[in-house]
């Protein structure tokens, strides 16, 4: 409180010298964080930098080994999440904790019931408060709407409303924009600004630099469990923040260079695909990916992209329509056949599909080629060849691991993904299919994988890139196909495409120009 020019009121939240050790790692090393009333304070760091641990400490999920938490200047001990909520600390998780079949009001009341008497809920009072809170912060919501029928952006608002209903004073948002379109992001930012203006303190966790610069009043950057600096948006920029976050200079945008496009490699025509429940989720897709180009598919998650890719790669049988590879019909070919035809696939869910976590890294590196020479002669495995080539891959793809015989589960997400990339990229390919190739990875790994993708394109491989990260699609693609409700609604040039235009297409399919935000069930 000695610093001149600072308001005399105590910070709403102060974390002093928080240290949290886990066996073998110091997740938080003497972290200081101060959030003033009405401030939006961004916590910026890569995955694994210690953001989540710090918030778990704040939320009472982890007990710090050292350090102190002060609320309004008073030292407190937070016993657990319910204690944290009682003290006005609320968290909006990246994956919403909502019950889709219940109404907005039911979800908000869950765990914080407003009672008319000891037996019955006071629904009328609850409704009144929900509507009033919504109105106060600029989003009116129908308390009787089913949460499952709301768009992701509105579901997030329900989460925020839940916190406000519990009289939150400090609101923690963990990667809130990860699932939103650019428009939805703008809308949620407006809500956050309004909350801050009303005196709410907000901790905004993110690894997206431009967002942090746009929304935050102050930015605390942490790296490897330590605070490496604090900045105001006015006194910094993306490059500066990236360098602080990663610890070295990083190239934020890939230099994709010129593409040399040749003839078509993959042709998809009139493809219809159903999901596991029998719903038609790909509804007549026509696509062409040419040699030496990256075709990016932009779309909000769940618009049929995964099923489209699975049908191309042979994991899912198309309902109707055709897939050709270099002019040859490969509709319904198995993953093994596609693999033999020089098609590689990086699946969206690396834990479910891409790796066998309990197996050694070396076995994972031959997961799709274990039956071929030199890894097997007949049915007999050649462990020496497997290990030798694994060591080569580790070297060339910079997979950080104590050895090739450690389990894949012990590697970090970035290194797991590099292992998949090493396995799938390390041969001559006609077609490379990538589904969310950098989801959840650190900046360094993303940079590396992007460069590998560009390198593949430059040797004439056709690349199909699906990503929910619009920025990734915009940065990488030579052409962009926007997918909406199982159809490709528009194909744009990758260099001239405008982010907002793509965002609107993603959200509406381009059918209604006026962007009515909120309830998605507008068009059939």
């Amino acid at each position: 409180m000695t610093e001149a020019g600072r308001p005399t009121i105590a910070p709403a939240l102060e974390m002093r010298g928080i240290t949290k050790r886990y066996p073998g790692v110091v997740a938080n090393d003497r972290i200081d964080l101060e959030v003033r009333p009405g401030e939006i304070h961004a916590l910026l760091g890569e995955n694994g930098a210690g953001k989540t641990t710090l918030m778990n400490v704040l939320y009472g999920l982890a007990r710090p080994d050292e350090g102190q938490i002060l609320l309004d200047g008073q030292p407190v001990t937070i016993a657990g999440p319910s204690d944290a909520i009682a003290r006005g600390i609320n968290m909006v998780h990246q994956h919403f904790m909502l019950v889709p079949v219940l109404t907005v009001a039911d979800n908000i009341l869950l765990g914080e019931e407003t009672m008319a008497n000891p037996v019955f809920l006071d629904r009328r009072e609850a409704h009144r408060r929900i509507v009033e809170l919504g109105r106060r912060f600029g989003f009116e919501i129908d308390p009787e709407a089913k949460v499952g029928s709301l768009s992701v952006g509105w579901q997030q608002r329900v989460e925020i409303l839940k916190a406000l209903y519990r009289r939150a004073r400090i609101l923690v948002l963990d990667e809130p924009t990860a699932v939103l379109t650019p428009q939805e992001t703008e809308e949620i930012f407006a809500v956050l600004r309004r909350l801050a203006a009303e005196g709410q303190s907000i901790v905004f966790i993110s690894h997206k630099l431009y967002e942090v610069l746009e929304i935050a009043d102050r930015i605390t950057v942490i790296r490897r469990g330590r605070v490496v600096g604090e900045r105001r948006p006015a006194e910094t920029n993306e490059d500066d923040l990236a360098e602080m976050m990663v610890g070295r200079e990083v190239q934020l945008t890939v230099d994709r260079g010129e593409s040399h496009v040749a003839g078509p490699v993959l042709e998809v025509s009139g493809l219809h695909v159903r999901d596991d429940r029998g719903n038609e989720v790909v509804r007549g897709v026509d696509l062409e990916v040419r040699a030496g180009e990256i075709l990016g598919i932009a779309g909000v998650a769940g618009n049929g992209q995964d099923e489209l890719v699975e049908a191309i790669i042979g994991l899912r049988r198309p309902w109707s329509g055709g897939v050709t590879l270099g002019g040859r019909d490969v509709t319904g070919h198995s993953p093994r056949q596609m693999n033999e035809d020089a098609v590689a696939y990086v699946p969206a869910d690396r834990h479910r599909f891409g790796l066998v976590l309990g197996f050694p890294l070396s076995d994972n590196l031959v997961l799709t080629s274990y039956y071929r020479r030199p890894y097997a002669r007949g049915v007999i495995r050649d462990d020496q060849a497997i290990i030798r080539d694994a060591e080569g891959s580790v070297e060339r793809f910079d997979i950080r691991t104590p050895g090739v015989t450690v389990k894949a589960s012990t590697l970090s997400g970035g290194n797991q993904q590099k292992a998949i990339v090493a396995r799938e990229f390390d041969r001559d390919l006609k077609l490379l299919v990538l589904d969310q190739p950098t989801r959840g990875l650190d900046v360094g790994s993303i940079e590396f994988i992007h460069r590998q993708i560009i390198a593949k394109r430059d040797v004439g491989t056709a690349v199909l890139l699906v990503s929910a990260e619009l920025d990734e699609v915009l940065e990488m693609s030579d052409r962009i196909a926007v997918m909406y409700r199982g159809r490709i609604v528009r194909i744009l040039d990758g260099r001239s495409a405008d982010k907002n235009e793509v965002g609107i297409l993603m959200a509406t399919g381009g059918e209604e120009r006026a962007t009515a935000p909120g309830i998605t069930e507008a068009t059939a």
């Binding site: 599909f353 790796l355 976590l357 274990y370 495995r381 997979i399 691991t401 104590p402």
Partner: protein, 387 residues
């Protein structure tokens, strides 16, 4: 970047001991605890017997007799090995299933039909020279067991019928089948009891003591064979991949359904061999009471060994020794042989409750055997439960 080139950590005896301990700690603790529970039961049960002096040392007497009976003499040792052989086969059968994410509760049924196949062919060719008769009788067991494993395998691959359900059903079918065969077509005509003819020359030769038969060696050969199959062949890699992550297996171009059918068939073969090792090695004939509980004990053996083929040898010896030592325990301490069932069941209970044990005894998770426990957990509730 020397750290990334896969340099092995330097050898250290302490490190080796620690990793060995992390593998065997849980089974050992389970075994010890089950003996403690057994001792408590022995003590309490004395109160139920009227006019008997309470003997604090009775558990010690009983366990001493159990161990002496199993290991105290050459004959006892051979009896232990004879009881161990079918448990090794059975344990391998269940373990192979676990590796592919399948819970083969049907080892008992496969065991019975295997024995039935052996006795059927064995009786027919009982007069032929042993070099011909033995292989044929063993092949009959393999074929019968294979069929009993193939059926649940194909049902699962085709219709998704869960193997836990179908193999339990087939156990009942096998029991009924055996009873019908022994009291009908295979029965010695005119015999008052339902019993078959002797397998004669198809019987396993004895090479150790008075009862140590060929089946013991055969079991060890199969341990090596299954280990080799699982860890040195691409088939084994496919089996383990399907078991550990069926989605990744499909992605990798494997065919989980085909692997399921093959693996279940293999499980049946192994359990069928367990049947032949009892029939051709010990009983030589079949009665309607043929059976014991080898197939069910095999599940415990596989769990205790964490599905590790080498571990199965030790787990099977433990269970075999209890069976072999129990009669002496009954004679010397008047404790019924059924105590052995109680001990085996409690071992299983403690293993299944392993999270509780780990917490109580501060045992760290096994680093090398993770796959098998995950697989087991997955087979209980179908593939959708884990992650």
């Amino acid at each position: 970047m020397s750290a990334a080139t896969g340099a092995r950590p330097p050898f250290s005896a302490a490190r080796l001991a620690r990793s060995a301990w992390s593998v065997v700690a849980l089974p050992l603790v389970s075994i010890l605890l089950s003996f403690v529970v057994g001792a408590a039961i022995i003590l309490v049960s004395q109160l139920l017997v009227p006019n008997q002096r309470f003997d604090w040392a009775l558990p010690i007497t009983a366990y001493h007799a159990l161990i002496t009976g199993a290991f105290g003499s050459f004959d006892g040792l051979v009896a232990t090995l004879v009881a161990t052989a079918p448990l090794i086969f059975g344990g391998l059968s269940v373990a192979l299933g676990f590796k592919a994410g399948l819970f083969n509760i049907g080892a008992q049924g496969q065991f019975l039909v295997g024995a039935l196949g052996s006795v059927y062919i064995g009786v027919i060719i009982s007069g032929a020279p042993s070099v011909v008769a033995i292989p044929l009788a063993v092949l009959a067991a393999i074929a019968a067991g294979a069929l009993w494993g193939f059926i649940p395998g194909i049902l699962k691959a085709w219709s998704g019928a869960h193997e836990v359900v179908t193999t339990i059903m087939l156990n009942y079918v096998a029991v009924a089948f055996l009873a019908a065969a022994v009291s009908g077509p295979l029965k010695v005509p005119g015999s008052p009891a339902p019993v078959t003819y002797d397998v004669g020359n198809a019987a396993f030769p004895v090479f150790l003591g008075r009862t140590g038969h060929l089946g013991i060696l055969l079991a060890l050969v199969f341990v090596a064979l299954i280990w080799w199959l699982l860890y040195r062949t691409t088939w084994g890699f496919e089996i383990r991949t399907v078991g550990a992550n069926p989605d990744a297996a499909r992605y990798a171009g494997m065919h989980p359904r085909v692997v399921t059918v093959f693996t279940m068939t293999g499980c049946g073969v192994l359990a069928g061999l367990a049947g032949s090792s009892v029939l051709l090695g010990v009983t030589h004939t079949m009665t309607s009471s043929f059976g014991t509980t080898v197939g069910f004990d095999s599940i415990s053996v596989a769990l205790l060994a964490r599905s590790n083929p080498i571990g199965i040898i030790f787990a099977a010896i433990l269970f075999g020794a209890m069976r072999a030592g129990a009669p002496l325990m009954q004679i010397q301490a008047q404790i019924p042989v059924e105590l052995v069932d109680v001990l085996q069941a409690t071992i299983l209970l403690f293993l299944v409750a392993s999270p509780v044990l780990r917490r109580l005894f501060r045992l760290r998770g096994v680093q090398s055997g993770l796959g098998s426990t995950e697989t087991i957990a997955r087979t209980y509730g179908g593939e959708a439960t884990v992650r």
